[in-house]
Symmetry: C2
Subunit: 217 residues, 2 copies
């Protein structure tokens, strides 16, 4: 298993090895960019909550959005949150129950949830669509002011957190390798299926190129 | 989108319609049982954290485990946690950016993290393996006392939380259905791939039946 730290947690300021940090950062970005799904953890009235939502990244900043009416989003303005992004890559079958594991890639990020308003919000929402479904934005009818108002966008700097990656076969106790027990990995991945047209599509609408070209990240 | 509540949150005691509750509960159990991955949210020193881990269910109780040395597990004993289990089932492409969505099934559970010790812990760990990889446990060398000691198991009652399910095509504004824009769903699912034997397996070991029969939940 590999561990990558953006900054040591709990928050102890450490001087980072810039080379190591760059390497970490590439790994972190790859894990973030490989799915839109994330889980955001936050506190309301002293109780922990975790909500799944979609995220997207621009450079050193991660964004997520939601309905302005959402209790989750109204409560986290300027508050500290923790975001996890996790890929479940396979079951790891060892020779003992104890050494069973999973292969995975995961990132945990800490930061302050900053609410974005004005024109920047609209730009970000457009970019969100274009990041997730490249080529789709220009086909859509434009966002209305009311829609923008009904949507809240948050940002968080990617500067504190950690990543963990496990790959490869099980690691068993030395003596267990002599046992006649099959060990190995059952890999798991996410796949996309053929697009399903809305039954209410106008007649004669072919699946457009941007949908045909869509590739799950 | 369908919403299911186990009990109203924040914690207002309400008398539940038992029929509705049963229905909710079936939906909640199906979502829980359809994957082992979960995200547990908790508070340390007033800061929110979220950690991915594996869960399994026995009746009305959900369990998770980890290394006894884990900071996450040492800190949550008897504390309140929130657990999310989420399935990302597809991108929903609407005629406006605003009505884009995803199809998903998700559960959010609240409760106290109760640490399990003694023989019950060992039984639970055995059942964990047998739940995730049916048929494997009896092939493994037995768990040692030291391994049991190095492992912590937590339980939480499934009695407070909510589930949300979205399925089907996009829901657009009435007038947008007249636009010549292709709308629909790109379904997403998790698949398993062919088992990859550990290069250190003893020569002549075939893939056993329980691995051949393995089906991703």
């Amino acid at each position: 298993m590999s561990d990558y730290e953006l900054r040591r947690t709990p928050r102890t300021q450490v001087v980072r090895n810039p080379k190591r940090a760059d390497y970490d950062r590439e790994v972190v970005n790859e894990i973030i960019d490989a799915t839109a799904l994330c889980h955001v953890s936050y506190i309301i009235d002293g109780r922990p909550y975790v909500t799944p939502t979609l995220q997207w990244r621009e450079g050193d900043t991660i964004y997520w959005h939601g309905s302005s009416a959402s209790r989750f989003l109204r409560q986290i303005v300027g508050k500290e949150v923790c975001m996890a992004i996790t890929h479940f890559d396979g079951y790891v079958l060892a020779r003992s129950a104890f050494h069973h594991s999973i292969n995975y890639r995961s990132v945990m990020l800490f930061g302050e949830a900053i609410k974005i308003d004005g024109k920047e919000k609209n730009r970000l929402l457009d970019n969100f669509v274009d990041t997730l479904i490249p080529g789709r934005l220009k086909e859509l009818r434009a966002m209305t002011d009311q829609e923008a108002k009904a949507t809240t966008v948050f940002s968080m700097l990617i500067d504190e957190g950690s990543a963990k990656v496990r790959t490869g076969p099980p690691i068993d106790d030395d003596e267990d390798y002599e046992l006649p027990i099959w060990a190995g990995v059952i890999p798991i991945s996410q796949i996309q299926h053929a697009p399903v047209p809305d039954p209410n599509n106008k007649p004669g609408l072919d699946i457009p190129k941007h949908v045909q070209d869509f590739k799950l990240r």
